[in-house]
């Protein structure tokens, strides 16, 4: 098993015919992902990288059985694209686009209520279930199949963790980057709940950042409900308060927002806390003993 996506996922790309979407769709196909087509309004009926192009997400759902979408649509139109996917019944919507206005995401999340869909991102590297399905921009070859679930804000720090883990013989069940924005589709807690139910995931690695309380809330839930080890790291111990560190959400605006405060709370809640990013792999390995 795995979470969110697997070999049976039927994936479409929104903004399909654009340069980046094309490149990453080809990469996903190479890994074995079932890419069943894509959506570019106005280009319906065409064929792109040997797959059908649809005018609407609904067409892709009805005609190609799509249930997962990867959104590469530029920021001014991203919210509309995500709502279109929600309305059409797509179950997992991964928003790669960086630079989506925050208030657009506030509205998208309101629209999501009452619909059975999960949004990952925006500003995310995406989701990968190794050897089965890649809906994102991460290098698939570094992700060995295995039994550790990963949820992170950052993409590249996720790669770093995977490399350290694979040197110790540890692989990944599913890895999800939730993105660095302050208002994002799904939070750490939602994904921990999914990992808790996944038999093939034996431990969960949570890689957070300064700012917000999502990691602490997730760890508090995990203490009572996650029957497997939770390993936690928070990036940004050296970040100065009040400065936005690249990610819009990575900003220390109060005492509880600092890396130190969050790591301390995680430790109190029973997580295996990693103090040094160079020791993520080691800590995961240790937690499984």
């Amino acid at each position: 098993m795995s979470i969110l996506v697997n070999k049976d996922s039927r994936v479409i790309f929104q903004g399909f015919t654009g340069q980046h979407a094309t490149f990453h769709a080809e990469e996903a196909i190479r890994m074995g992902t079932q890419v069943v087509g894509g959506v570019t309004p106005g280009k319906g009926g065409q064929v792109h990288i040997e797959r059908p192009v649809f005018d609407t997400v609904r067409d892709a759902v009805v005609q190609a059985g799509a249930d997962v979408s990867v959104v590469f649509v530029p920021p001014p139109f991203s919210a509309d694209a995500v709502m279109e996917a929600i309305e059409a019944g797509i179950k997992v919507i991964v928003v790669i686009t960086d630079g989506v206005p925050v208030q657009d995401m506030v509205r998208v999340k309101r629209y999501l209520i009452g619909h059975d869909a999960i949004i990952v991102g925006p500003n995310t590297a995406g989701v990968i279930t190794p050897e089965e399905c890649k809906v994102g921009i991460m290098p698939a070859h570094i992700y060995p199949k295995g039994r550790v679930g990963i949820v992170s804000r950052s993409g590249t720090l996720n790669y770093e963790a995977v490399e350290q883990m694979s040197e110790l013989g540890l692989g990944v069940s599913t890895s999800v980057s939730i993105g660095g924005d302050p208002v994002n589709g799904c939070d750490f807690l939602t994904l921990l709940e999914k990992f808790a139910d996944d038999d093939e995931t034996e431990a969960v690695l949570m890689i957070g950042e300064i700012g917000g309380a999502q990691e602490v809330e997730a760890a508090a839930w995990a203490r009572d409900h996650l029957n497997k080890p939770l390993i936690g790291f928070i990036a940004g111990a050296t970040a100065p308060p009040g400065r936005r560190m690249g990610h819009a959400g990575a900003i220390i605006s109060g005492e509880g927002d600092t890396a130190q405060a969050k790591m301390q709370r995680l430790a109190e809640l029973g997580a295996h806390v990693v103090q040094n990013a160079a020791e993520i792999g080691k800590t995961v390995h240790h937690s499984l003993k």
Binding site: P101, V102, K109, Y159, E160, G236, G246
Partner: protein, 391 residues
């Protein structure tokens, strides 16, 4: 993106949010003529910088004569104002806001933020105006009222009246305060703000509400649809190197250490800085080159990092996913050929096209320190500085 108080107040006027009569001035003479036009017998002269804490730092002066207006403006303009938010270097004051003085009866706090907990716009109000709201929330949380806005319908009148009553207002004041709250919400929503704060919102002895101070910041991601807000950007308020870096699509933040960092991805960049400090070093900057970095971009990153005289070593940590190690390596070669790099350079590459990248570096004949892992890179960077000091 932040704007000045006088700009926020002009925006408020267009939303019928009451603000004191006043205008911005670039010079003492202009300040004098503004005060003359305003009339009356009391004025306030306020330094216009983006940082808070101006009052305690002497950036807000009360004048009781036209001569004093001129004198205070003269003192403030051209001076570096040091507040608790500016750092030691302070911020250069280029303009002042001159306003009529009003007699204050009561002070309130009113603000809107995008609340990360509810993931929605949230109205915040307090009867403890004039103080820092974070401080009020910490010491007396019961004095801070929050009202979450449903984005489907927007802020409703009843919510505003509830909040108004909650901060102790009654009678017709509730109606007027609710009108102000709703206008403030519209302004926040229309302009894609991230934060707006009126602190204090005062009730004058004449029984009128006035936004005495005003602060507003906007979502950089939404500026594409707000050229009117982009026009208000004041580059003098920003670090020139950060502005230059953003021109090259690099995310740079200057810090005060000696290890210059070039990393891809914000999370990895922060984790790299943290690792450096765990090995006893101090990062000189945060720098995220982002995805798809070209050799030119890497070369620009090098140049910006090396402009900082405190940098004693440069450390590159690139985990290429969407990036390519060969391009990164070409960028390093280009930068080191074009710039006179007099400090050690530690390079850690991983991910896409790693072998090609390593080959380019090995064949370049460049003098650099290779690192295979993050821990390695952090440790070697700190060692390089210590050896430099010893030599």
């Amino acid at each position: 993106m932040n704007i000045h108080e006088y700009q926020t107040k002009e925006l408020f006027r267009s939303y019928k949010i009451p603000v004191p009569e006043g205008r911005m001035a670039h010079s003492a003479n202009q300040a004098l003529s503004v005060a003359e036009q305003l009339g009356g017998d009391g004025w306030v002269v306020k330094a216009q910088i983006h940082a808070g804490g101006r009052g305690k730092a002497g950036g807000v002066q009360l004048a009781t004569s036209l001569e004093e207006v001129q004198e205070y403006a003269e003192n403030l303009i051209g001076r570096r104002l040091v507040t608790r938010q500016t750092g030691e270097a302070g911020r250069l004051v280029n303009r002042v806001l001159v306003e009529q003085v009003h007699q204050i009866d009561t002070e309130y706090y009113l603000g809107l933020v995008i609340d990360r907990g509810s993931q929605r716009i949230t109205l915040i109000a307090s009867a403890a105006g004039g103080m820092e709201i974070e401080e009020v929330a910490r010491a007396t949380p019961e004095k801070v009222i929050r009202e979450v806005v449903d984005p489907a319908v927007g802020l409703q009148d009843f919510q505003c009246r509830k909040v108004a009553a909650g901060i102790g207002l009654s009678g017709k004041d509730i109606v007027e305060a609710a009108r102000i709250m709703k206008s403030l919400y519209r302004c926040f929503r229309d302009k894609d703000a991230l934060m707006v704060e009126i602190n204090p919102l005062v009730m004058t002895t004449a029984g009128e509400f006035l936004a005495l101070d005003a602060k507003m910041s906007f979502d950089g991601n939404a500026l594409f649809r707000h050229s009117e807000i982009t026009d208000l950007r004041d580059f003098d308020e920003e670090d020139p190197k950060e502005v230059e870096a953003s021109g090259h699509d690099l995310n740079y933040i200057a810090l005060d250490g000696s290890v210059g960092c070039i990393v891809n991805g914000a999370g990895l960049a922060m984790a790299t800085m943290d690792a450096i400090s765990l090995y006893g070093g101090k990062p000189a900057n945060f720098l995220d080159v982002g995805g798809g970095a070209s050799p030119e971009k890497i070369a620009n990153a090098f140049r910006i990092v090396l402009e900082d005289p405190n940098v004693k070593v440069v450390m590159l940590n690139i985990y290429a996913g969407i990036n390519r190690c060969d391009w990164i390596a070409e960028g390093i070669v280009k930068a080191m050929a074009e710039l006179s790099v007099e400090v050690p350079v530690v390079v850690r590459l991983a991910g896409t096209n790693l072998e090609a990248g390593r080959e380019i570096l090995a064949n370049s004949g460049l003098d650099y320190i290779n690192a295979d892992r993050l821990s390695d890179a952090a440790e070697k960077s700190v060692q390089a500085i210590n050896q430099g000091v010893a030599a």
